[in-house]
């Protein structure tokens, strides 16, 4: 069973990295958002440093949603999803494997790019560290919650916007605690650990609930 799980993760990674797989798209979008922001805000370095973490988190949230609409839809269109329904591997773990591969291909590059992009927004070293850590812990939550929207998008043609509309409300707690944890690096009364632990809890809950809900959605809609 773990062999099948691993094979599915590796196939999805391979597909994402091949031409047209779209693995780099999220980072490019992330870069675009962060580069454009200073031009819109103006050259106020203090202001940039203060709102920088929020901008980076919004950019990472939106970039994480890119490609989710095709996650199950591509498998549904070419018939793979039907064969995936006849495995010893339960559909919940199929969804989890695809989620993990999607996060490695799109979420992890965002985490790696974040420290570099932070420099554009005049973030202090302490903030950069906190931001990178919160993104590392928080982006899996976005991807795994996104599985739910991705599963519905497989049933409806042109589900791209549907994913954003379905998933965005679910990710608001992740955004709140992610930004809150990063903000503690600039001072304040709350220690970093408090919002960070809630963020980690949200992430763990999403990793369990996302695949289960996505599998249920796939079963209901594949008829």
């Amino acid at each position: 069973m773990s062999r099948a799980f691993l094979a599915l993760v590796l196939r999805d990674l391979r597909l994402a990295l091949r031409a047209g797989g779209g693995a780099g798209l999220g980072v490019v979008f992330f870069l675009a958002v962060v580069v454009v922001t200073p031009f819109a805000i103006g050259p106020d370095l203090v202001l940039l440093a203060r709102i920088g973490p929020a901008i980076l988190w919004i950019g990472a949230l939106l970039a994480s949603l890119i490609g989710l609409d095709r996650l199950f839809a591509a498998d549904a269109e070419d018939g793979s999803l039907d064969v995936l329904g006849t495995l010893a591997l339960p559909l919940e773990l199929v969804a989890a494997a695809k989620g993990l591969a999607h996060w490695i291909a799109t979420g992890l590059p965002l985490v790696i790019a974040a420290p570099v992009l932070s420099l554009l927004l005049n973030l202090q070293p302490a903030s950069i560290g906190a931001l990178t850590l919160t993104l590392l812990v928080g982006t899996p939550a976005i991807t795994f919650l996104g599985l739910i929207g991705a599963a519905f998008a497989a049933a409806f043609r042109r589900g791209g916007l549907l994913v954003a509309v379905l998933v965005m409300p679910l990710t608001i707690p992740v955004l709140i605690f992610g930004v809150a944890a990063t903000a503690t690096a600039l001072g304040g009364t709350v220690p970093f650990g408090t919002p960070f632990r809630i963020l980690a809890g949200l992430s763990l809950a999403a990793m369990v609930l996302g695949p289960v809900a996505a599998a249920a959605a796939l079963r209901v809609t594949r008829d």
């Binding site: 062999r3 099948a4 691993l6 094979a7 599915l8 196939r11 391979r14 597909l15 091949r18 031409a19 047209g20 797989g21 269109e77 070419d78 018939g79 793979s80 039907d82 064969v83 995936l84 329904g85 006849t86 495995l87 010893a88 591997l89 594949r222 008829d223």
Partner: protein
């Protein structure tokens, strides 16, 4: 001894009842050829047998399986779609399904040789012809050991020699004690077979308490 048993099966697509009261049983070492006009529910029947959709009524089980009521793991489902990824090579696609389906049988190169795709392992599926893609999908049946093959128009896009070659592979599977349920319009010889004309099981027809097809 495995045996597929279907009792009082009904299938509804939207508001339309496609068939009801359908019952048959299929023993090891036999094939069932499902025929019938378009829209009588051949594909729907195969999807129900594969556990991919739920019947409106009735029961089905695979006697002799680890879980007789939930036997999706015993099934090779070959639908209209080939389930290939165009950007992966033929061998990568087949190796992936071999890892995922479990209970490995033939190796990737062997299976591709069996369906006449030897030497094309490294080509991306995107450049294969429709018939070659179908052959690769058929090779999936050979890389994992599963007793019940559910085939939906298996020979679409295949040339005459490939059809004969596949029929021979299917006969070998049946001889080894496998089972096949195939929806097809092409006259294929899968060895000892029963016939099921789904057109006769339409709700409007006077088949209220139908006799099972002799197994």
């Amino acid at each position: 001894m495995k045996r597929l048993v279907v009792e009082r099966l009904a299938c509804r697509r939207g508001a339309r009842l496609l068939f009801e009261g359908l019952g048959f049983s299929l023993a090891e070492g036999r094939a069932l050829i499902v025929t019938g006009p378009n829209g009588t529910g051949k594909s729907s029947l195969l999807r129900i047998l594969a556990g991919l959709s739920r019947p409106a009524a009735g029961a089905l089980r695979l006697e002799g399986a680890a879980e007789p009521e939930d036997f999706a793991e015993e099934v090779h489902y070959l639908g209209h779609l080939d389930a290939h990824k165009a950007s992966l090579s033929a061998a990568e696609n087949l190796a992936f399904w071999r890892d995922l389906l479990g209970r490995p049988a033939l190796g990737v190169a062997e299976a591709m040789g069996e369906v006449g795709l030897g030497g094309l392992e490294r080509l991306p599926v995107a450049v294969l012809s429709a018939g070659q893609k179908r052959r690769l999908a058929l090779a999936r049946l050979l890389v994992a050991e599963r007793p019940l093959w559910l085939l939906d128009e298996p020979t679409t896009a295949l040339d005459v020699s490939a059809q004969a070659r596949f029929a021979a592979l299917a006969r070998a599977h049946v001889e080894r004690g496998g089972m096949i349920v195939a929806a097809t319009h092409a006259p294929l010889d899968f060895g000892p077979s029963d016939a099921l004309d789904l057109g006769a099981w339409r709700p409007a027809s006077p088949t209220v308490e139908p006799a099972p097809v002799p197994a």
